[in-house]
């Protein structure tokens, strides 16, 4: 009889314990438990600290005004306004803009890599993409600031040189490697027997891809998109340097915007420690945290829910 052992990931089940542990074995187990709990605590601290920092803001400012206000002007000496909408819209514009560019191109690229590229080219291309996924965001930001914005000025003649489009394009370039890595994995894990079955029925390669491979890999592809989108929402340096940092409520891609991440990064340079503005920034951080957490959760759920085991 073949055993399916579940040494790992075996939650609901207890393993019989050895009561004759030597002191050394016991000490090691305790040390490992402590280390694990410290990481739980450290990670839990992220959320706790955000809550603690944000609560004073919700006590002093108008919560409805915070979520519906259309003006973000926290530095005003007498009448600071903390409307998160301009920042929220800024974030959405930049990340949806980036997704609109990155999804088709990234998908095309992953299909090419998984289905069309020769094994030799793939064995170079795939690690290269993974290495590129590690380029620090400040470098993309720098490129957007110095080079890309110039090109956009020539083509579109925008109102301001640093604008939402600039940020969106740069973010798209950043998102693509993440997307390609995950999506290609998903397509690669579709067993070739499925492809062969379809091809043997006289389908063309494109028809096989369209009707067999893509549906089978769909959950992985969706997860790739969602993950990359989450990264775009949370990205700070690129948008900080590329979008011009003007917190105005606009839907024009050729104007400057400010995202939630950028507002936190920039405003903390001049904020008084413990002031209302300080706590409001924590509240913005909390909103950001909730959004990205939800996005990641969604990606995870999609993978779990629709995962096909081959």
């Amino acid at each position: 009889m073949a055993y399916r052992l579940r040494w790992k990931g075996s939650n609901r089940r207890r393993v019989r314990r050895n009561v004759n542990l030597s002191p050394k074995e016991r000490a090691i187990e305790i040390a490992l438990t402590i280390a694990t709990w410290s990481s739980v605590v450290a990670l839990g601290a992220v959320f706790a600290e955000l809550m603690l920092g944000a609560i004073p803001a919700f006590l002093t400012i108008d919560i409805i005004g915070f979520f519906t206000g259309t003006v973000w002007n926290p530095a005003h000496p007498t009448h600071p306004l903390y409307g998160i909408l301009p920042l929220f819209v800024g974030t959405l514009m930049v990340s949806f803009g980036a997704a609109a560019i990155a999804i088709p191109i990234g998908l095309g690229c992953s299909i090419w890599l998984a289905e069309l590229a020769s094994p030799r080219i793939r064995s170079i291309f795939k690690p290269a993409i993974e290495i590129l996924a590690g380029i620090p965001s400040v470098i993309f930001g720098f490129f957007a600031l110095v080079i890309l914005s110039e090109w956009i000025s020539i083509v579109f003649d925008p109102v301001t040189k640093l604008n939402a489009l600039n940020g969106a394009i740069m973010l798209a370039v950043m998102m693509i490697p993440i997307m390609v890595t995950v999506a290609e994995d998903a397509m690669n894990s579709v067993p070739s027997s499925l492809r062969e079955a379809s091809l043997a029925l006289g389908a063309t390669r494109w028809e096989t891809l369209r009707h067999v491979v893509l549906p089978a890999a769909l959950s992985g592809i969706v997860a790739a998109i969602v993950l990359a989108f989450g990264r775009a929402v949370g990205e700070t340096m690129t948008v900080l340097m590329a979008t011009g940092n003007a917190p105005q409520l606009t839907f024009d891609f050729l104007r400057s915007v400010q995202t939630m991440t950028a507002a936190i990064a920039i405003d903390f340079g001049e904020v008084v420690f413990g002031s209302e503005h300080y706590h409001v920034l924590f509240a913005v951080g909390l909103v950001l945290f909730v959004i990205t957490f939800a996005i990641n959760f969604l990606a995870d759920w999609v993978v779990r829910r629709y995962k096909e085991d081959y």
Binding site: M1, W7, R13, V15, R16, N18, V19, N20
Partner: protein, 263 residues
């Protein structure tokens, strides 16, 4: 013949699944005992109770007694590490460590050291290089592998063929001189030639060890074992001398199985 292993009302549960039901049986010293039965009948589960390997499976509960030389190894107070040192196991798929052939065999002796009595005191010390070399050679010879690998002891154990890997695993088990050796379908991943080598080896081993083998091959059980136990759906249906089991089975289920009308 003396009884080495005696199980009494042995029951195993995997969560809600009752995998082994009231197994009471005796296994004799210096014999090859074969455990046969269709897939999922609990035969592997049974031998894994003897060296407590079922402990590793989350949610597995083993109830009842497994007396080895009169000591209940299923007792919570027993040191499983010690049990497994005394009762060796060879697995279905050859699983040498990805280390050299020498290191594969020397690993367990190194782990346990030498226990000796000096001036009336029990002392543990490390093996000398010479002692280790001897153990490695002796174990490999005993597993009928020495001649094939003596010139390349430093090569990886993974570089051997499947049958050689399995004999290396046997040598590895022999290195600490267990009393009992459990074989969990040791030939199921091997070709016929490698299988017959292992079978010869098993018969030879019973001179010094008590051998228990789980097998899905009735021919194999008939060829090498002295006694055979037939398991079906978690119960031990019948046990007796191999010849008797195959020629004059007492139970109808056994007869159906060995005549191929069920399986």
């Amino acid at each position: 013949m003396t009884t080495t292993i005696h199980t009494e009302d042995l029951n195993v549960y995997f969560e809600r699944n009752h995998a082994l039901i009231d197994v009471t049986m005796d296994i004799q010293n210096n014999q090859v005992t074969a455990v046969i039965g269709p897939s999922g009948c609990g035969k592997s589960t049974f031998i894994r109770c003897i060296n407590r390997m079922n402990d590793l499976i989350p949610g597995c509960v083993v109830k009842g007694k497994v007396l080895v030389d009169g000591e209940d190894v299923n007792d919570d107070k027993v040191d499983v590490v010690d049990v497994r040192r005394r009762i060796g196991m060879v697995f279905q798929k050859p699983n040498p460590f990805p280390k050299s052939i020498y290191e594969n065999v020397a690993y367990a002796p190194r782990l346990h050291g030498v226990t000796e009595v000096v001036d009336g005191k029990v002392r543990r010390r490390k093996h000398t290089k010479k002692e280790l070399d001897e153990i490695v050679e002796r174990s490999l010879r005993r597993a009928a592998l020495w001649e094939e690998v003596k010139d390349r002891l430093d090569k990886s154990g993974m570089s051997l063929s499947g049958g050689q890997q399995q004999r290396l695993c046997i040598a590895r088990t022999l290195s600490i001189d267990p009393e009992i050796i459990l074989f969990d379908e040791p030939c199921s991943a091997l070709d016929p030639i490698a299988t017959s080598k292992i079978e010869d080896l098993l018969v030879d081993l019973k001179k010094d060890y008590t051998v228990i083998i789980v097998t899905h091959s009735m021919q194999q059980a008939a060829r090498i074992s002295d006694r055979t136990a037939f398991f079906y759906l978690g119960k031990m249906i019948e046990m007796g001398d191999t010849k008797q089991i195959f020629e004059r089975p007492q139970m109808e289920l056994t007869e159906q199985y060995i005549t191929g009308r069920m399986g």
